[in-house]
Each structure stands twice: as C-alpha cells, then as structure tokens.
Symmetry: C2
C-alpha cells in the first residue's frame, strides 16, 4: 500500500509530494533541487546536510553529524528516510542554484568550442616521435651511428638538415646496440632543420607528453597533455609564489632590479612550475622523463623572469622587451624539470604589456579571422584588450590589480574549491554557492563581481561604493566597515570591506575604460563590437548581466558575450599541439598594433568616468 | 797593421785564414761552420763550447765554464779572441751539420706551401665578428632587443634564420644599453642558419681568436690563431696525458671500456688541451675570453674520447664510429675552456681508423685535386696512407706503435729541444745533432730512423737488426744489449737497445707494408706514385735516403718526396680559417674508400716481407 506525504523545502518554500519511506536526498534530486553531495548518497562525504524543521523521519546514525548538529536537527539527507509530512531547510552553502544547470550547458558549449579549435589547428605536435628500425651495420654498410640514423630520418621527414647535441650523441651507440637497432627518436622541427630531442630504445611512440603552462602574475596553470592525441590529461593551478615579492608586474620588475632580485624571482617561479609538473606527473602516472616539451604562455614580465632575463627595460621608456619571438630552449638551460633533453617553447608576444598570453587569446578566440568586429578581453592582474577582425588587430593593456584573481582583497581566494563564486541577496538574505559546493573559504573573482552587483542592486552600497544602509551584516572591524557574507560556527567570517569595494571599482574601472579607450581611439562605437570574448581565470562562471551592471563590461546584448576560460593556457596547449598555431602566432604579433594607454589623451578621462557603479557612460 | 793567422777546425780538419784578434765564434759562422749558440754571441747562453787543442788565445773568464772544463781547454767560442795560428775541436753535440742549411731551404719551401694553401682556401673564419651600431629604440621603433639585433644582422648577412642561446639573450639588454647600442656580435654560420655565438660591448673586431688542436694518440699540438688575419700566433705541443693509460688506440679503447675508464680518459685529454690553451693564451697575451672557437683534428678514437663518447664499437666488427660528420658543440658542453659561449668544431673523419686528421692531410696535401697519382702518409702512433688523385682516394691504416713519437723505446723523446734528430756514424765515431742544439736528452723519431740507417750502413747491425760487431759502444745492461750514443759527464747514457731496434723494424714494417698493400690492391706499381707526401710529428727533419734505406718508404726518386709537417694541425687551422676547407672536408670523406688491412689477403704477406732492413721487396 503506497502512501504519499508532503515535503516542504525552505528557503524556497517548494512543496513536493513524495512517497512515504523515500530517501530525502533522492527526492530532492528528482525535483531538481541540488545540494552538495560528493559521494553520490553513500553517506561518506557528509556534505548533504539539511535541517529538519518538523515532521517524522528516521536518520541513520553517522559520525558526520556532530552532537551539536543533532541538537539543531541537522542530518545527512542521504541517510534520512521520510516517514510523514515533513518540512526541511537547506543550508545556504549547500544549495546549488539553478544556474548550475545553465552552466552545464555552457560547459557543453565550451567543449564544442574546443573541438572547433582542434579542427582549426590540426595536430602536428612540437615534439614528434618516430620509431625506426635501423638496418644493422655490416662490412658492406659501415656508416656511422649518427649518419645511419640520419639516413632513415631523411627518408621519413624528407629533410636534409639535422642537429644532435652531445648528450644524445653520447648515448646513441649504446642505445642502438642494446635495442637491436630499434629506437624511438623525438624530433623538433625548427624551420627547415630537424633537432633531435631525445633517443630511446625500442618503440616508445605511445609515450609522448608535454606540459602547457600559463604563467600568470598571480596564478600559474598548467596542463599535462598527450602529444599524440592532442588531449589534455590533467590540469593544475596554483598561486605564483612570486606574489610574495609584489602583487603586480611593476612591483615584480622593481624587485628584480634589486641585488639578487632577478635570481630570486626566477627561482620561485621555476619552483612553482616544477612543483606543478611534478604533481601532474604523479597524478597521471606519467614519468617526468616522458615529458619532452613545455610551452610557456604568459605576459612579457613573467616570461622574462622565468627565463632569468632582466625585465627592467619593460618598465622604462620606450618599454622594450628582450625578444618578441623567443628561440627554443633546452629544458635544462632554463631549469624546468622534464626530460633533460626536453625543449621549452615560448608563445611569442607582441608588446611589453601584451605578451604571449594575449597572442594565445587572439588565436584561441579566432578574432583574427572573423569578418565582424570583435573584442577580446583577458582579465587577470593585468587586463588586456584586443579589438579587430581579419583585417586589423589593435590592443592595449590596463593594470587591474590582482583582486579579480582573489588577491589584495581581504577574503579573496582564487577559483578553487570552497571559493564563493555566485551570490544572491534577496530580502536581506544572502545565498551563495561555492566551487565544489564546499564549506566557503573565501571569495573568488566572479564572486566579487556578483557581490558588488548584488550590494548595488539591493541598495546596500551607492554608486561610489559607500555603504548606505545600517544592517546587522555591516560591522566595523579595526575602523574599517565590512559586510559579512558568511560566518562559520566557530565565528570565522567571510566579508567584503570598504577598501575591497574601492579596489574592485578601480579594477573594473581600469578594464572598462581601457575598452572604451580602444573603441574610441579606433573611431568606433560600442555597438560596432559584434562579439565580446572574455578570457581569464573566471572561466565561464562570470555573470554577464551583473558585469554590465557594475560597469566592468560595456552595455551590449548578452548574446554577444562569450566566455573562453583561460585562453592563455589553451593557447599554450595549442602551441604544443599545432604547427599551424605556432606559425600563425608569429604572424599575429606582426599584425598587431598597440595603443599605449599611459600616452593616450583619451584614457585618463575614460578612467575617471569609470570609477562609479556602473560608470557615467550613458 | 793587419795580420792573418790559420784556424784549423776539427773534426772536419777545415783550415781557414782569419784576422789575428778576431772573435772565434764570428770566424766560424763566417765560414759556414755552425755550432750551438742561443744568445747570438753575448756569452749568456754558454752553449758555444769548443776545445782548444793548440795555439795562443785570450778567453774572457765566464762562470759558464767549469774548472774541470777549463783544465780540459774548453772555452766559449764567443768569448775567445784568436791571437795566433790555432787548432780547435768542435764538441759533437754542438755541431750543427751542413744539413741544417738545407733544412732552412726546406722551411722556405714549406712556408711557400703554406702560402699556396691560404690561396687555395680563402679566409672565411668559422666564427666571424660583426660590429653593429643599432638604432636606438624610441616610441616609433619599439622592436625588441633581439629582433632589433636580427634586423641589422639580416641586412649584413642577407640571411633570415638566426638562433641565440639563453646566455646571450640574458646579457643582451644590459650590454646594449651600457654600450650605447654599439656591440660586436660573434656569429657562426651553420648551413643557412646563423648562430649567435657571443655578444660584446663596443667594437672588439680586432680580437677574434681561435685554437686549432691536433689530438694525437701520443702528442697533442695546438695553435693559437688570429681569425681575422688567418695567422698563427703561437704553437704548443705536449704529450697526451692519456698515454699513461695505454700506448695505442686499442689499449685506450680497452681502458675506456672499464668502469669509469671513459670518464677518466676524457678528463685527462681535456686537461691536456685546457693546459695547452692556457699556455698559448698566457704566452700570447690573448685573453681566454677572446678565444671563440676551437677546432679538433684527430683520429676517431681520440675524438670519441675527447667528446666522452663510448669508443668501444670502433674496435668491434664491423667497426662503427658514432659519427663521421660531427655537429657543432658549445665549448662548455665538452668542457674546453675558452669563452663559455665559444664553439667546438670537429674535422670530419671518413673511417674508424682514418679520421679527421687524415681528412686534414688530404686537403692540406692537395692530393684530392691533382691529376697525377699521389701517396700521402701520416706517421704517428698509427700510420695512415691515402693513395689517389682528383678522381679517387683510397686509404688504409696500420698500427705503427708510438716509437716514432719517441714513446715505447728506451731513450725515446718527442721532437723537443735536446732530442737527437740527426745522427752520423763515421769511422766508428758518432756525430749527432739535437733540436735546439742543446745537451742531448734522448732520441726522437727522425733520430731513430737515422740511427737505424747508420747502424745498418756501418754494419753494426744486420738485416734482422742483430748487433753483429763487438765494440766498446755495445754493452749489456740487465741482460739486454744496447748501443751507447752519448754518455754525459755524470755517466748518464743515451742508448738504443736491441728491443728498441726490433720495435723500430716492426713500426717501419707496418708503414711500408701498408703502403705496398694499398698500391698492390689498387693494381698499381710503386713507380706510379708521382708524389709522396709525408706528414707527422717529424716535420721536415726526416732523412728520405735513410728512410728508404731502412725500408720505411719505397724506393722512389728523392725529388718525389715532400714533407708537410703536422698536416693534422695545419688542417685544424684551416678548418677554423676557411669555409671552403670546411665544406670540402665533408665532400672528401664521402669520396674516400677504405681498405681494411686486417681483412686484406695481401697485407700479412707484405708485412712479413717488411720485417727486414730494408725488406725483401726488390
């Protein structure tokens, strides 16, 4: 005999009819109410906590619920059986808003975009492996080992010019004879010359890996890739340890100018990258030795520091980098720990403040080949903007500061598990969502954008970012006013402070005014921008409407905006995968023109206009 | 009032009329009697000792003459004034035979040959310097440092493909700005690509040096050269320290096969070379840092060991070297101490036992372009023979052992000051000449050849090398019979022993039979050889007639023989100087064919026939 009961879910006041004896978590999921659960309802993760307000139920005992929680009627939804009409309340940080459903569509859209990208840039990896069965030498064929190797490589590659370094030459005779003249050669094609990167016994074709690195001022991301398949195996992201030597590019350069400063900055960024590579290698069961190439995409300052090249002249007029197109390095020359014969390639960069990360963005977004006019913006510690189409490309750079990357703001974190990324304020109540649906640990860039918009929408702050209401959430701490977003049981608060808000307004103002300066300098109107590509650590989590509302982006129809995620990292991956991408990157930087905002008569005016929410551009 | 007196010079019994009151040394020189004198008659060197048998004279007191010498009427010729008819006796080791006069003609002939060589191979050094005044960057020309450098280099070199390594890239920004954008770039042209070797502030065009190294099994020679002028500034020669790990190539390879053996052999040869370079640098006041290139000419085993490459397969069938044409190395990769950005180039070698030293010899001798048939022989620890003309080149190698280089024989020394290089035995008396006209310290290769010939001519030894007379100079020492050439006042003897003679017969036999094997294999007769080029440490000091007499060389008219000195070293120099030489060297080794004596049915028969003085080939 079936019997139905009513389930009332707060704070949504959603009323659902469910079968008596049902599992509570299953009922919620069936009705599109998503709460945090990692283990899939096995009672292991202890994440799906809910509060039971009234009704009859049975909840299996579990050590995931403390005695205090039990007293407060908090139980695991996955362990709870409904026995009567029941009323429950979702805990704020466990709620996964409906938006997530939309996000999964965005992810599909993004995956589609990546597939298109692979079609545009066919696989032709920077390091290729070739398996060779060399004919044994005999008295009628006494060619030397190296010439014997070249003879076969010539047949396959149709090239005549080769190079080999001493380490490979040293191991060649033994490897050939131990492996019965069957070897796998890793090669790198540099213009018309073939560099022999590594030689291994027998057939190791299957193991050809690379690491793509996006070296950002604040964060460093890297992907371990399968060079044969053009596939990403694993990604990692971490803070750039250089951050403790200064938040932004200029302070890093100043530090590098000190005695021993360059060496120190070089060392820590190298450490960061080597740790990431080691992690990627361990987590994917890929041997460090099977990683034969690393690509670097980053701004010019980061590239200089990584290569231990004096970056001083990047900040001195007329702002000159050491190179735009970098030569290919051996991994050991730089100190990057992959196969000691591996190579390091750097995505070329057009200008001192528009580096390889933006070359990556231009190529990944595809704006260089479109008929319509597009705008590409990469938001990190610096914000770089490119406007153009298949005929022209113009760029500029603005210093946004690191707050969109979760640095330099009180409870800022980068976009990691536990970071508040979505916020809704409704009737004085705050709802938020964290990445990984975990206990909140801080606020990431997209979270700050939402927070700023919600504070403004709800008239908690005014156009200047001042708190304009009195409210139990607004408190003063050491003379600074702050708004409490979350307070944990043990009293730890996550807040946004008045200086945070000022910082965020300056940051969004820098981006907005840079965009409008480029558009005006080119004699265009905002509406001429038919596609607006957004790149940066935010990924696809940034809320466009709110971004327009706070005056980060200009007021364009929503459908013109497109998120591309970390295009610098995607570019680094494509740089490893595709010869066409590598060749085009050199063409792009020759085509790219630059507007120096610090010398632009328009910029200062635009910037001052942008220091409001949203701005004064109507 | 002039008065003339008679001067009688023993042992020649040469009678000369001289002015009374003349200086004795001057009188001897005026009459073409040369005795040792280094200081030119200033009384400083104390070398021009003579014995006064009778007559009146005045000799200035000098501490160069001991009391014992004074008692024996020994004085310095340069300090002696002739006061009456006088009879003197030259001391054997101070006599410079008339042959020396002929030698000086040979030297002129040789210098002429070197001038011809320079005409054949025009100067185009392996590392060129280019002085550039780069335009200052400004806001209208914000090209990066490296691209700015390339832009100027492109104009001058008309090449488009460049490469720079991390160390030069690192120093580029500071050098450019400290030197007001005036720099000197050292470049190396590798096929169509230009490698930037080094960058220096301001104009350093004048300082472009290189070191050419001949790495022999027993001796290592090197020249410090001025790359701008194609001139040799200084030469040095020393024993290869590897000699203590085995006399010949095979014993070195066997040693290299031991645990740690290769590393040890590599280390000692590197030490030897680095010491030579340091000496050359100090003695010529050339900074190590201004030496930008090193060329290596040597046999394959020596090249393998220097590069720390396993040489084992050179002695295992089918005898395969790691490479014939070697890539270009950075000096630091190999461990050669010149400018740390300097390069190391290796003369390519055709076969495992006919290496770059012989490629050098072929090119230096010019046999590759002659119409007539020539034979080239390089006599070192190995003897390599090439027969050919502009249409073909065939080579072979025989192991002569190190005795012609003064090693492995009792009183053997290399061709240094004090080495007995010429010997005459007449009426039971021995006359000899040492290099530098100094106190004899041992016997060098050419000295042994002369000695063997003189012993045979004077019927002191028979065709088998056995002593066939009893004579006060033939003594037994620890059961071994030896012939005393010189005994110093303190009783130190220089001798040739029975085993020495056997060694020498085997050595000359190896060379002779290799020559006759090649000639016979090619279906030629000895007389078809119209030019016979001799290379090796002997230089132009070897006596052809005596070499034919002992059966080292075949019986050809004397005028067909030509001495070329150390063609391996000359080749290494030319390899630095001339692009044409470098290109031709690669062509030559492709043209060269090889006769493997160990697999030749003719060789063993020829060898057995050659183990006599001179041989059984009549």
């Amino acid at each position: 005999m079936k019997k139905f009961v009513n389930l009332n879910v707060k704070p949504f006041n959603k009323k659902i009819t469910v079968e008596k004896g049902s599992n509570l978590l299953s009922c919620l999921i069936k009705n599109n109410i998503f709460i945090t659960s990692i283990c899939g309802g096995k009672g292991i993760c202890g994440k799906c906590k809910i509060k039971i307000l009234k009704g009859d139920f049975y909840s299996e005992p579990t050590d995931k619920i403390s005695d205090e929680e039990k007293t407060n009627n908090i139980f695991l939804a996955c362990k709870t059986t409904i026995l009567s009409d029941i009323e429950i309340e979702l805990l704020p940080h466990t709620i996964i808003p409906e938006k997530i459903i939309k996000d999964s569509e965005k992810i599909k859209d993004f995956e589609h975009f990546l597939i298109n990208l692979k079609n545009t840039f066919p696989l032709c990896p920077v390091v290729k492996k070739i398996f060779l069965k060399l004919p044994f030498p005999n008295f009628d064929d006494t060619l030397s080992d190296y010439e014997r190797l070249k003879r076969e490589l010539e047949k396959i590659t149709k090239k005549e010019s080769f190079n080999i370094d001493i380490s490979n030459l040293r191991k060649l005779p033994n490897i050939l004879r131990k492996s019965s003249w069957e070897i796998t050669v890793s090669i790198f094609e540099n213009q018309d010359k073939i560099e022999i990167v590594d030689i291994e016994p027998k057939d190791t074709l299957e193991k050809n890996y690379g690491v793509a690195v996006d070296v950002g001022t604040t964060t460093i991301s890297a992907s371990l890739v399968d060079m044969n398949k053009g596939e990403i195996l694993k990604k990692e992201m971490t803070f750039n340890k250089q951050a403790s030597f200064g938040d932004d590019i200029i302070s890093r350069i100043v530090y590098a100018e000190r005695e021993g400063g360059l060496e120190r900055l070089h060392k820590v960024v190298l450490e960061t990258i080597n740790e990431i590579i080691e992690n990627l290698s361990k987590k994917s069961n890929v041997l460090i030795n099977d990683i034969k190439s690393v690509s670097i995409s980053g701004n010019m300052t980061m590239v200089h520091l990584l290569l231990k090249i004096n970056p001083s002249f990047l900040r001195k007029e007329p702002y000159i980098p050491v190179a735009n197109i970098f030569p290919v390095f051996k991994s050991t020359e730089i100190g990057i720990r992959i196969n000691p014969n591996g190579i390091v390639v750097v995505v070329p960069g057009g200008y001192p403040y528009v580096g390889g990360d933006i070359t990556s963005g231009i190529l990944v977004s595809g704006i260089y080949k479109e008929n319509e006019l597009s705008l590409f913006v990469d938001i990190g510690t610096n914000g770089e903007i490119v406007v153009g189409n298949k005929d022209f490309l113009t760029c500029c750079a603005a210093s946004a500061g690191p707050c969109f990357e979760g640095s330099g703001v009180k409870n800022g974190v980068r976009a990691i598990n536990g970071a508040i990324q979505k916020v809704i304020i409704k009737n004085g109540e705050i709802f938020f969502e964290t990445i990984g649906k975990q206990e909140p640990i801080g606020i990431c860039g997209s979270g700050y954008i939402e927070l700023l918009a919600e504070l403004y929408r709800n008239k908690i702050i005014d156009r200047n970012g001042n708190f304009i209401v009195e409210n139990e959430r607004i408190v003063e701490n050491e003379g600074i006013r702050e708004f409490i977003i979350y307070e944990s049981k043990d009293g730890k608060r996550i807040v946004i402070t008045k200086p945070d808000i000022e910082n965020l307004i300056r940051a969004k103002g820098a981006i907005y005014s840079a965009i409008s300066t480029v558009i005006k300098t080119l004699g265009l109107k905002v509406d001429d921008i038919k596609r607006f590509y957004i790149a940066g650590g935010f990924g696809y989590h940034i809320d466009i409407e709110k971004s327009i509302e706070i005056g980060l982006f200009p007021n364009l129809p929503i459908e013109r905006f497109k998120f591309l995620g970390n295009t610098s990292l995607i570019g680094a991956e494509m740089f490893l995968f595709s010869e066409k991408f590598r060749n085009l990157s050199e063409e792009i930087i020759k085509k790219l023109t630059y507007i120096d905002l610090s010398r632009s008569p328009i910029y200062m005016e635009e910037y001052l206009k942008s220091l409001f929410i949203p701005h004064t551009d109507f």
